[in-house]
Symmetry: C2
Subunit: 142 residues, 2 copies
């Protein structure tokens, strides 16, 4: 596995949670939404189709299983999944847990309002919660 350096904007806006089989999992530092990033540890990849087929399947497996677990655990209303990358070219997939009561519902979260940073206790608590959920999942191919 070739490890790629993390884009500095992703590093600044998010907090590391754990290493998945393919991706680094990070928590966006915005407490308006439970919002995760999956960043494949591959060099020079900016589009999903830059990954080989097996990596693509693994990326979506990680995204889908973590998204489902987090949505169900939180009793949320919708999972938003997206790969945009217009600002940061390093491939990253957003998983955003949405509630009908959140402040930009039903609009998308990108480019809306100002992010609200966690304080360090909140950040640690949220990271621990996500980590406990993810550690209970099987993220390998069936």
């Amino acid at each position: 596995m070739e490890d790629a350096a993390l884009d500095e904007r992703l590093e600044e806006d998010s907090y590391p949670v754990t290493e998945l089989p393919l991706c680094q999992l990070r928590l966006m530092d915005d407490k308006r939404y439970p919002w995760l990033l999956l960043i494949p540890r591959r060099r020079g990849v900016s589009e999903i189709f830059d990954l080989d087929e097996a990596d693509q399947q693994q990326l979506w497996r990680e995204a889908s299983r973590i998204g489902q677990a987090l949505k169900e655990f939180l009793g949320a209303d919708k999972l938003n999944v997206a790969s945009l990358g217009n600002v940061v070219p390093q491939l990253h997939v957003h998983l955003v847990i949405r509630r009908e009561s959140d402040e930009t519902w039903p609009g998308p979260v990108w480019g809306q309002g100002e992010s609200r940073r966690y304080n360090l206790d909140e950040l640690a608590a949220m990271r621990d919660r996500v980590l406990a959920l993810v550690e209970g999942l099987d993220l390998k191919a069936d």
Copy 2:
């Protein structure tokens, strides 16, 4: 295969292109961007993880191969891929071909400005272009 009825908002905002192995492929009627929708022909599905694993892989295979072909054919700058569904619950994946010169770059396209409808000749020409590209692709599992 159980065919699901198409949500009427998807029907109103988009134009049918063709049937893929899993999805109906539709063209969003907004000429600001080449913008496609992939709608799995499955009943009662609103989250990607509501699909079984084989269907999920097929959905992403269709999205990835079509997105790559269209981006390369058009010489565009970025592919945006997203499953949101906050407004229309029927599962649908957006493929949006982005250019640095488009009117909402680098922001996302959802909820930004007013869509601009194609006239019927433009719509037919765009549909034919997409159809010709898609017909040249192998969309089955390797």
